[in-house]
């Protein structure tokens, strides 16, 4: 078959490429029989509509679809190619279209040939779409990466300089930039989104952009123009010195890493970055400065700012390995005051290892003379973060029970047998771990102090840890649930499940289990509703 030459309307003629490729594919023209050319764009439309940004294209899923007029309009007067009998249908993944849109912007003249070959192969080799390491796909991928990187660098390294307008109009901000691929139109919308209310222009060797922000009754307009020369861009303005000062001083001379810098800010961009002229002097100086700093003798502290009275020095975290029994020396005789002393003291407790890893101790809360005291096992993730008992998933289930029973949570004293959250890390999650007997025993005196201050008429033990703490013996919760037991001092303790046991149980049986749990708790209703 004779070689065909296809000429596209300019370097970024994606609609043209798409149309031609579809026609060629329909006529079954193999990739090796085509030579692709681009024409220098003719007179450019000064009020071209904004091209779709490549970052978030609205790709149509079907390559054979009629192009949607918003993005790739058919040029008027050109009929769409009629399908050949036996022609290949070109249904390709949307991701491939997005890849093409990007690769088209690459400066390599071979890009169109590569893309058409890929299209041809996608249609004729079913496995190709699932093979990201195919040589042609990898090459296109690399081209797309180079284009995306260039676009990113343009967003990063365009530097506006301001030109005051003689007529008192709004300041114009002008930038000169030299991209490596045909990306100027594709990046334009980024600058429009970022600097909507600013008048600006970006000049490059191939194309220029100008944005006039919206004014009374007029939409903002973006204008494309022909390329410009470096000399057309304005010189440094007065304010640039501040930016250079910042650049000079944010640099840490003790950490010179020039290779790293050049990897991200390649030298080819330096000529248009005002701060680049500082790189060499700063680097040379850094070697000397850093040496001087280390050689300088340590200084004698000069306290020129008087320390302020009242800076907190309390609540100092204890050393993690200190074994402390930080009971307040003199507990107040006022129970409310005593509870707040105890609350403060638990924060410093390191009598077992749990405290060192938790955010904070979670102390009980409720009225000082509550008739009913409810004791859980230990704080969970949410309680640890919020510093309050029963505010996580178990807390919500408990609140639901309180409401169903006609109790009021604000009349209950709610606390836990263990005051710190014990957990193990799994990936990024903190998974609850049951406290050991030693840990629960070490924590017991805090609970006993709470009971002594609150003096409830009865207590509810939720789960085995709480039951053991209150009754002073191992308790088989499933056997002893729903009954009142007498504690060591004769206190009345109702034993039932911890709400987390219900949450962990079989979902199908959850409602039934909940109803049984309510029956257990209902035994304490008379106490809960008693007026303190």
């Amino acid at each position: 078959m004779a070689t065909q030459t296809i000429t596209l309307d300019g370097d970024t003629d994606w609609p043209g490429f798409r149309r031609e490729a579809r026609g060629l594919l329909t006529r079954q023209v193999p990739p090796d029989d085509i030579v692709w050319h681009t024409r220098e764009s003719a007179e450019l439309d000064l009020f071209a509509s904004l091209p779709d940004e490549l970052d978030d294209p609205e790709a149509s899923g079907d390559f054979a679809d009629a192009a949607s007029p918003a993005s790739v309009g058919e040029a008027p007067g050109r009929p769409a190619p009629t399908p050949h009998p036996g022609g290949a249908s070109a249904v390709v993944p949307p991701a491939f279209l997005r890849l093409c849109e990007t690769v088209v912007l690459h400066e390599d003249p071979a890009r169109f040939g590569l893309l058409y070959r890929l299209l041809w192969r996608l249609v004729h080799e079913p496995g190709l779409r699932d093979d990201p390491i195919d040589p042609d796909r990898v090459r296109a991928q690399h081209m797309a990466q180079a284009v995306r990187r260039d676009m990113h660098k343009m967003k990063a390294f365009v530097r506006f300089r301001s030109i005051e307008q003689a007529d008192g109009g709004a300041t114009l901000h002008v930038a000169w930039f030299e991209p490596f691929h045909h990306i100027v139109e594709a990046v334009a919308s980024f600058f429009v989104r970022r600097f909507t209310s600013m008048r600006w222009a970006i000049m490059t060797p191939e194309r220029s952009l100008r944005w006039e922000p919206a004014a009374a009754g007029r939409e903002g307009t973006l204008t494309f123009g022909p390329g410009a020369r470096r000399e057309d861009a304005p010189p440094a303005d007065a304010g640039e010195a501040l930016w250079l000062t910042y650049y000079r001083h944010i640099f840490n001379p003790a950490r010179l890493k020039l290779a790293m810098m050049q990897k991200e800010m390649p030298r080819r961009y330096w000529r248009n970055l005002p701060e680049a002229e500082l790189i060499t002097p700063l680097s040379v100086e850094a070697m000397a400065r850093s040496g001087r700093m280390i050689e300088a003798p340590a200084s004698v502290p000069a306290r020129r700012i008087a320390p302020v009275a009242g800076l907190r020095k309390h609540a100092r975290s204890p050393a993690p390995d200190a074994v402390l029994a930080p009971m307040p020396q003199a507990l107040s005789s006022d129970p409310a005051e005593a509870l707040s002393q105890l609350r403060e003291a638990t924060q410093r407790c390191r009598e077992c290892p749990i405290g060192a890893h938790a955010t904070q101790a979670v102390f009980g809360e409720g009225p000082v003379r509550a008739a009913l005291m409810v004791v859980g096992e230990q704080p969970g993730d949410q309680e640890d973060l919020r510093g309050r008992p029963f505010v996580g998933p178990s807390g919500r289930l408990f609140d639901r029970a309180v409401a169903d029973l006609g109790w009021a949570r604000e009349t209950l004293y709610v606390t836990n047998a263990v005051k710190h959250f014990k957990f193990e890390l799994r990936g990024k999650r903190r998974i609850h771990k049951t406290p050991s007997q030693q840990e629960a025993a070490a924590c017991l005196h805090w609970l006993e102090s709470e009971v002594r201050q609150v003096r409830p008429r009865a207590l509810v033990a939720l789960g085995a840890t709480a039951a053991r703490a209150l009754l002073g013996r191992p308790v088989a919760v499933m056997k002893e649930r729903g009954q009142w037991h007498a504690g060591p001092q004769g206190e009345q303790v109702l034993v039932t499940l911890h709400p987390s046991a219900l949450l962990r149980g079989d979902p199908a049986l959850q409602e039934e289990a909940y109803a049984r749990w309510l029956e257990d708790l209902a035994l304490a209703t008379a106490v809960a509703q008693a007026v303190a």
Partner: protein, 431 residues
Amino acid sequence: MTLQRKLAILADAAKYDASCASSGTSKRSSVGGAGIGSTEGSGICHSYAPDGRCISLLKILLTNFCQYDCLYCVNRVSSNVPRARFTVQEVVDLTLDFYRRNCIEGLFLSSGIIQNPDYTMEQVVEVARTLREDHDFRGYIHLKTIPDASPELLRRAGLYADRLSINVELPTDQGLATLAPEKDGAAIRRSMANLRVHIDDARGAARDAAAVSVVSMPTSMPRRAAAPKFAPAGQSTQMIVGADATDDRTILSTSANLYGAYRLRRVYYSAFSPIPDASSSLPLAAPPMVREHRLYQADWLMRFYGFAHDEIVPPAAPGDSAGGGMLSLDVDPKLAWALAHRDRFPVDLNAAPREMLLRVPGLGVKAVERLLMARRVRRLRSDDLKRLHVPLKKVMAFVEVADHRPGHALEAADLAARLKPVPVQASLFSA
């Protein structure tokens, strides 16, 4: 004092904070607004300093006057550095000016403690408020929060900022107690917890708002309740490495705990660098920057490669000489792990599960995803690895493909030596 001089002093004072990210926040643009600014998900580094760090945000202190005496800090009360203080308006104007030049993505503002924590935090929040409310600035704002400031001020900071951060500074409470007498590890963790609760609540509310769309008229667009805003880019922190004697194993365990407990987006590690006017109680020589780099690599292994914090660095054996509990400086942590667990290799790339592919030295997350895709349609061969742009020598030592087996190379005693990068003489400008 001139603005130039203030900027010099207060940029100098801020350069020891490593965080620079301007990513991970909600998408915004200035279309339809009165001001400028946009955020597009991934941040942009607008420049790079010769120290290799990206310049993405205008990173300054509101003031470097400080009442605290944290020994590792150049701005501590007992330091002899020159002091300066910006007005709120000066910071606002600088931010907008640099932004218009397209030099920055936004502002990173921190401050020394003056008068008291609440007063300081109020000033910092006022800068953010002015930018957002008076100038309709829609760029990125990162505020450093003062741990002892009132919860109400933290809440307001979250309203205006994309990201909030509180520095834990040192890996252990003991270290903090020794070197930073006014700082309290427990208070710092409580503040982080408080931020996480706010961030989670705002996210949950935003999800609920998105799920409920009210259609009032058949032709009208579904209307959504405005989602509450609170630090959409989450929170981060920084740890100084090498100012105290904490080993790497402990540092990683602290980080893992912070990620798990407070859902931090990032833990930044900052190798303690000699500061001008250093206190006599600190090491004056810098720890190797390589250590900081290895910690970042280990941190990635925890976050993206499924490594648990306690399997990356072997614990120091009793009576161990130097090196126990520390990351190797001459090979990266993933290679170190593979060399120590040769029995788990070679990994058959055509059959092994994803978790194991991620443990192959030299294979990144993207490469693994591509290999998994490709192997569904055909057998993988060594040419595939060549095209993936992975460090071939390293990868080949640990994998099997259709046309390659490492054979006895894995058992060779000199494998580590052969895979170590060749030390390069640093030059001012390497090609």
